[in-house]
């Protein structure tokens, strides 16, 4: 079987934050490849640097040193506005608390990223309808986030993340605020996106059950990649 090329290449990545005159190292010399189409879980204790790593890969934050190549583009060399453009067309975001705009309907929330594209109104409608069909929420298009359950809101967020057909999806604790059934539904959906649509997915999670859905897993501890602990069914209970 042919080895898939790396979609994300991290080389010697360092990141620290400054708090009250103190420098707090968060990531320490991270080197990592994530293959195209992989569904990778990033685990680790709180404060281990998982979210920071995700932010860097998604172009939301800047590394102190090191390089990040995504689909061959060195995003550490991009300016803030170039990074914004790059994010719009290459990255889909799924947040723990969905982060939908409450005054926009499900349809309008999904349509948001398409407003930055040259698509016509009709084309945008087609894309949004397809994305909402994919998450099986075509009958909830005109509902506002407040009228949807947590699981449904997260599915809208996934539709929003998918609608521009990005190369990678980053998810920060996507099931952290959901009940078990809704979490299962969301994870199955992400799994399908990875298997059927070939999306590269990086998911930060504390939940071993969620991590088991992923096809690979990395474990961060004190800002360093460590060997992954065994995940047992007892942890999932």
């Amino acid at each position: 079987m042919e080895e898939k090329k790396a979609m994300v290449e991290l080389r010697n990545l360092f990141k620290s934050y400054r708090r009250g005159g103190q420098v707090l190292p968060v990531l320490n010399d991270i080197t990592l490849d994530i293959r195209e189409g992989d569904f990778m879980a990033l685990m680790g204790p709180s404060g281990s640097g998982k979210s920071t790593l995700l932010n860097l890969v998604a172009g939301l934050d800047q590394a102190d040193s090191g390089t990040i190549h995504v689909a061959g583009v060195d995003i550490t060399a991009l300016s803030e506005s170039e990074l914004a453009e790059w994010r719009a067309s290459n990255v889909g975001f799924i947040f723990q608390f969905y982060n939908l705009v409450p005054v926009l309907t499900a349809f309008e929330n999904v349509e948001l990223p398409l407003l930055l594209t040259p698509l016509s109104r009709r084309e945008r409608r087609e894309h949004v309808t397809t994305a909402l069909n994919l998450v099986r929420l075509e009958d909830r298009m005109e509902h506002y986030p407040g009228q949807l359950s947590g699981g449904q809101q997260q599915r809208v967020a996934i539709a929003r993340a998918m609608v521009t057909d990005p190369r990678i999806l980053v998810a920060d604790e996507p099931t952290g605020d959901l009940d078990r059934a809704s979490a299962e539904e969301v994870l199955n959906l992400m799994d399908r996106l990875s298997r059927e649509a070939g999306k590269t997915i990086i998911m930060v999670t504390h939940d071993p059950r969620a991590a088991r859905k992923a096809r690979s897993m990395k474990y961060l501890e004190k800002g360093v990649l460590a060997g992954a602990p065994e995940i047992s069914f007892s942890q999932c209970a």
Binding site: Y17, S51, L60, D61, A84, F93, L112, P113
Partner: protein, 384 residues
Amino acid sequence: MLLKLVFRNVLRHKLRTGLTLCGIGVAVLSFGLLRTVISAWYAGVEASSANRLITRNSISLVFPLPLSYLERIRGVEGVKTVSYGNWFGGIYIEEKNFFANLAVEPRTYLELYSEFLLPEDQKQIFLRDRRACMVGRKLAKRFNWKIGDLITLRGTIFPGNWEFVLRGIYSGRDNRVDESQFFFHWDYLNESLKKRQSVMADQVGIYILSVANPERAAETAERVDRIFRNSYAETLTETEKAFQLGFVALTEAILLVIQLVSFVVIVIIMAVAANSMSMSVRERLGEYAVFKTLGFGGPYLAATILGESLLLAAVGGTGGILLSFPAAKTFLHYLGDYFPVFSVTPQTVLFQGLATLAVGVAAAVLPTWRAVRVPIIQALGRVG
């Protein structure tokens, strides 16, 4: 989508939005009324004609000029018509019933003040009858006077009771004309004075001149004053506008305070609106971070925040502007004695509009700066 977002954001906190709109509306209304008070103060100045000059005693308006100057002024090159008059200062029943009352030479006065519209039949009777008086429409309405009524004024400068027969009710050519004045024949005053206080007879408070060419008004004024230089009653001739401004200048400090207060009102509402916008934006920093995450830039965020602020200001400001008209009418109803001309001018509406725009823009500046500058991960609470 941008407009949709702006409208829906405005309606998110209905109570807050309602209170902010009320605040802006009341502030713009207050600003408009204060500006209208200032305009009312300048009503006399605004109603001045460019081709009228006023000649008075150069020492003070309190000192009169001899009637004998009339023919000499008439003879000055550039002077077309000359009228004259005295401030009478009479009181109708009691002092609170104040209104301007003047003794004038009626024929020339009406010729000079063509903005006083008097029906021809009334005019003829008014000119013929020495005891006749002519009053403005508003004044007649105020005291329910009808043509033919006998009106008695108690003199303050010229003691005694003075009786007049109402022969004419004038109306203004436009809303800048004061319709609350009282005019009667100067001859009636003078003849009575000859009998009662001859020392005050044949004296004139002011001469009113019309000039053939308003552009040469200064030259004409200078010619008039030159004639009486070194006489016992030297004259000061100035344009009617300058003469009226002289009265306004007496109350300049009050006007300055009113102007200051009108601007303070706007500054206060700017702070209130900015506070309201800041609260809204602070609550939505996470949402703005999502917009930025999705690739929306600073200009888009700025447009949504500015749009919301301008919409709030526009709705509140328009309410304030629209309310100014009935409020001015109410104001006029109760304080018409002091402000005979009190109407919201197009200039005041323009100022109100500009103040509204300023409130909208100023209220959005800081919240926009904050929303645009805050790092995404900080706003999303994803540091660490």
